[in-house]
């Protein structure tokens, strides 16, 4: 067992973990933050995407210990039911989810994509950038629309904050 301290959704947590503990298991099992999902065992599906120090990573292939001292943000940390993140709102608006299982990872990947590619990101880029996120339900059509709208919403949010 090793001790690890990290900040998750703004809350600092310290825990003793088996060194082989993956970040996703730490989030789901230790912290009971079950919004982050596991859809594969080969780092392909993106159901597990969270942000570590502002960048999207796959928490299924990240050791919890390697996040010591980091800021981790999960789907539970980006918005609330009363005040959704623009990307969450856009997913609902565009019916970009069906079973909802890929959705937290898609939203986290979508936010990261917009952070990197900007608010004017086009359909082709969105589709290419979603290489690491698999959805079996939606056929991606509405996910692409949602990320376009979410991008605009994020830009507006940023502007309002400035």
């Amino acid at each position: 067992m090793s001790s690890v301290t990290l900040t998750v959704n703004g809350r600092t947590v310290t825990a003793d973990v088996d060194p082989r503990t993956l970040l996703v298991d730490f989030l789901r099992t230790n912290l009971r933050l079950t919004g982050t999902h596991v859809g594969c065992d080969t780092s392909q599906c993106g159901a597990c995407v969270v942000h570590v120090d502002g960048r999207a990573i796959k928490s299924c292939t990240t050791l919890a210990l390697s996040c010591a001292g980091s800021q981790v943000t999960t789907i539970e940390g980006i918005g609330t039911a009363a005040k959704l993140h623009p990307m969450q709102e856009a997913f609902r608006e565009h019916h970009a989810l069906q079973c909802g299982f890929c959705t937290p990872g898609m939203i986290m990947a979508g936010i990261d994509l917009v952070n990197r590619k900007g608010a004017k990101v086009d359909e082709h880029t969105i589709r290419e950038e979603l290489e690491g996120n698999i959805c079996r339900c939606t056929g991606y059509h509405n996910i692409v629309r949602a990320i376009e709208t979410g991008a605009a919403g994020m830009a507006a949010m940023k502007q309002a904050a400035e």
Binding site: G35, G39, E76, C99, R136, H141
Partner: protein
């Protein structure tokens, strides 16, 4: 309230919990004191088990128990069942071997369940499972469905000689032979419908829990039909009687058929929970999903179409070998028979059809229903035949189809189905216009100028949904009735709870069913909650598959709502002191004709419970009604999909450039949700055509057992889709709905392959048309087309 009722694209009520990470899937649930199960699986496709040594594993830290097939047998736990009896041509019943939840002396596919290790933590269970030593006597494996019936092949089950489960047929062979004898043209195709892995994004999972104080068992499971799971586990497997077993299917992350079935893992978890008196949790990893979720498709077919000189279809003949895998899964036997051959008439007037199907065992994962289930296989056969027949006889594929469309309804096909309604030409015309079919030649020339190939392909599909009339499926061998139930509980304040036997695992029932209530009872959808997926709450139900939840489950809700209104009228009449037949109900209001007396729905509900104003001898207090709805017929959604592809000749990469889909689903409850279903189905069909294919090597190893090896469609593999609807309301249910869940997956593969072969100028390519396969096919192009 019509802005929220039937026909409105209202946003989904269920979304808030999913977009905020508050969904509750089985693996998100944790029970006090739970333990973790790991299955020891066979690494061999076929082997006798000479011994299992679990001593070292039992001594490993945290291990609570290790069980094998012997322990299940000692507790008289029965095997898993196949619920649909198929009879062979000679009248004999299908020949099925036993399907134990944990192997008994023999394993029959890679991933077959040998033992379960239960430990305090997941890591401890994993570590201990590696210490279970199984002594295998490895046997040769039967892998290829086309060869498995040959003499000398390894025998999967002693009960099924030559690995043949059944040799079934449908249709009039003599009439078909006679029609072929006089045909001016015969088109013949050899077709492989590739084997698919469903891959719902949520892996299967189960938690079994036993309460020793009440002797009650609770199973949380990733199921599309929790009541069917309870029925099978109670009545056939012998876990516990139904009143002692509660099955809960909470949020379920996609199913596509693969979560209909009752599997070994949940059976073992619920049995073991009582055995060790601790909750037992199991969650598949993706590799286990590849090995143990029932696969789909896997047909090898020879098919022929007879056409006369004028281009009229005379007859169709098909011979199919259907791979059923190593054991018969829950509905496996029905998929390549009654869900397949009765759809071979497609949208066409075909006077004579004959289809033979051999269901065969192989040493591979069991095969069962996957999105579309039999109907995509049938559509692929007929739509490839029709397209190629048009090409071979020099006809425009759209016009050849139109010429042979059924135009009179009802239409009795020669293979069971009585189509109730449709307008196939309307879909075709709309699709042709949306796809700019007239200017395809210009686009093809533009592609050619870039050194690329361009092709266009059609698929005019039909499916039989809303499965289905209980008496009809019963006469065809189904072991269950396929009605659906609904219970409407009106609360004293006028809010409404609807308990449905349907199950939503992405379909959006919490929204669409609330919309039905909103239309019928005039209450806002926020005042309606939909309860599903729990056998302690919903009395009985048949679950969700075969695009049946709207047509059957929704209709049950309508019937129950009508009873609520009828009772409400009696209560209202008593309160308003008028005759019952004087009371009208509209838009949430009861009114007395010829007076200005009115009561809102909520006021009547309150009076029904307060019960001060009527005679309890005449009217029972309360407002709660139930309906079990059994449809008169299947529903017959249809449509035309047009795929347009561009192929890079240097790399063989096929780009789906345009997709047009025009579907007739009858009345739409929520067009936004319907379109989403179409999108998802198309992507799965494009996946089948371009990327997906489960491959076994000759020893029976699954070589495509991860997302690294199995091509899942990703965002860049599909285009945005151009989707539209037409509407001929279904006459056989009160909503007029037909079902939309499977259409895309049914239509898309044929449209894709027709487009690719159109581009190539020859028919020599099979699914999946990977870049490598397409590149090879390009090398075989007729000279002129390739230049």
């Amino acid at each position: 309230m019509t802005d929220q009722g039937i026909g409105a694209s209202v946003k989904r009520k269920e979304d808030l919990r999913f977009i905020t990470g508050k969904g509750q899937y089985v693996d998100d649930i944790n029970r006090q004191g739970q333990s973790y199960a790991i299955f020891v699986r066979s690494p061999h496709a076929h082997a006798n088990i000479k011994g299992i040594d679990a001593k070292a594993a039992l001594a490993a830290p945290g291990v609570l128990a290790i069980f094998t097939g012997e322990d299940l047998a000692a507790d008289k736990i029965g095997g898993l069942i196949c619920g649909w009896m198929i009879h062979s041509k000679d009248g004999s019943p299908m020949k099925a071997g036993p399907h134990p939840a944990l192997a008994q002396g023999k394993v029959r596919y890679v991933g077959d369940h040998v033992a379960v290790v239960i430990a305090e933590t997941l890591d401890q269970a994993k570590d201990a499972a590696e210490k279970v030593a199984v002594d295998y006597d490895v046997l040769p494996a039967a892998v290829d469905p086309a060869k498995t019936q040959r003499s000398g092949q390894p025998q999967v089950h002693a009960e099924a000689p030559n690995n043949t489960v059944y040799q079934w047929h449908l249709g009039d062979k003599d009439a078909v032979d006679a029609a072929f004898a006089k045909a001016a043209h015969v088109t013949k195709l050899d077709i492989v419908n590739n084997r698919l892995v469903p891959n719902a994004m949520e892996p299967r999972a189960a938690i079994g829990e036993y309460d020793s104080g009440t002797d009650n068992l609770t199973l949380w499971t990733t199921s599309q039909n929790p009541h069917v799971a309870r029925l099978v586990l109670s009545a056939f497997v012998g876990i516990a009687p139904e009143h002692k077993l509660r099955v809960i299917a909470p949020d379920v992350g996609g199913g596509f058929g693969s979560k209909i079935f009752i599997y070994a893992e949940e059976t073992v978890c619920i049995w073991a929970a009582r055995k060790i008196n601790r909750p037992v949790k199991w969650t598949a990893d993706r590799s286990e999903a590849f090995y143990s979720d029932a696969h789909g498709r896997d047909h090898v077919t020879t098919a022929e179409l007879a056409v006369d000189k004028a281009g009229t279809i005379l007859a169709l003949r098909a011979n199919t070998k259907a791979n059923l895998g190593a054991y018969l899964s829950t509905f496996a036997s029905s998929v390549p028979t009654y869900l397949y051959a009765p759809l071979l008439s497609g949208q066409y007037n075909i006077p004579a059809i004959y289809c033979e199907v051999d269901g065969v065992y192989t040493n591979t994962t069991p095969v069962d229903a996957y999105r579309g289930a039999g109907r995509p296989e049938a559509t692929f056969v007929i739509e490839r035949l029709v397209e190629v027949a048009a090409r071979e006889t020099g006809r425009d594929p759209a016009e050849f189809r139109r010429q042979n469309f059924i135009t009179q309804f009802p239409h009795q096909t020669p293979v069971i189905m009585a189509y109730d309604t449709g307008d196939y030409a309307a879909c075709l015309d709309k699709a042709l216009a949306m796809a700019d079919y007239k200017t395809f030649g210009q686009r093809k020339a533009a592609s050619a100028a870039k050194g690329k190939l361009r092709g266009i392909g059609f698929s005019a599909y039909i499916e039989a949904c809303g499965i289905a009339p209980s008496r009809a499926v019963g006469s065809l061998g189904a072991g269950v009735g396929l009605w659906e139930s609904a219970e409407i509980r009106v609360n004293p304040v006028g809010t409404v709870e609807v308990l449905t036997g349907s199950h939503s695992h992405g379909q959006g029932h919490e929204t669409t069913m609330a919309q039905i209530i909103s239309s019928k009872l005039g209450v806002p959808i926020d005042s309606v909650s939909i309860v599903h997926g729990d056998t302690d709450k919903v009395q009985m139900g048949m679950g969700t598959y075969g695009s049946r939840s709207g047509a059957v489950g929704g209709s049950a809700i309508v019937k129950a709502a009508e009873k609520v209104i009828a009772k409400g009228k009696r209560v209202a009449a008593a309160c308003m002191e008028v005759e019952e037949d004087q009371v009208d109900f509209e838009a949430g209001e009861f009114s007395a004709r010829g007076t200005n007396k009115k009561m809102t729905f909520g006021e009547v509900a309150l009076q029904a419970y307060v019960a001060h104003k009527f005679d309890p001898e005449k009217i029972e207090p309360g407002l709660k009604e139930t309906s079990f709805y059994d449809p008169k017929n299947f529903t017959f959604p249809s449509g035309v999909h047009i795929a347009e592809v561009e192929i890079d000749m240097a790399t063989g990469v096929t780009k789906v450039d345009r997709w047009t889909a025009v579907d007739d689903f009858g009345v739409l409850i929520n067009p936004m949700i319907v379109e989403g279903q179409v999108h998802g189905g198309i992507a799965q069909g494009v996946g089948q055509a371009l990327l997906e294919g489960a491959r076994y090597d000759e020893t029976g190893q699954l070589v495509t057992a991860s997302f690294m090896d199995y091509g899942m469609p990703r965002a860049a593999d599909v285009p945005s889709f151009n989707v539209a609807m037409t509407n001929t309301p279904c006459p056989s249910n009160p909503l007029g709905v037909k079902g939309c869940g499977e259409a895309g997956a049914i239509a898309a593969p044929a449209a894709m392959v027709n487009a690719i072969t159109n581009a190539l100028g020859h028919e020599g390519i099979a699914m999946p048309a990977t870049p490598q396969a397409v590149w090879r096919a390009i090398q075989k192009m007729p000279r002129k087309a390739a230049e």
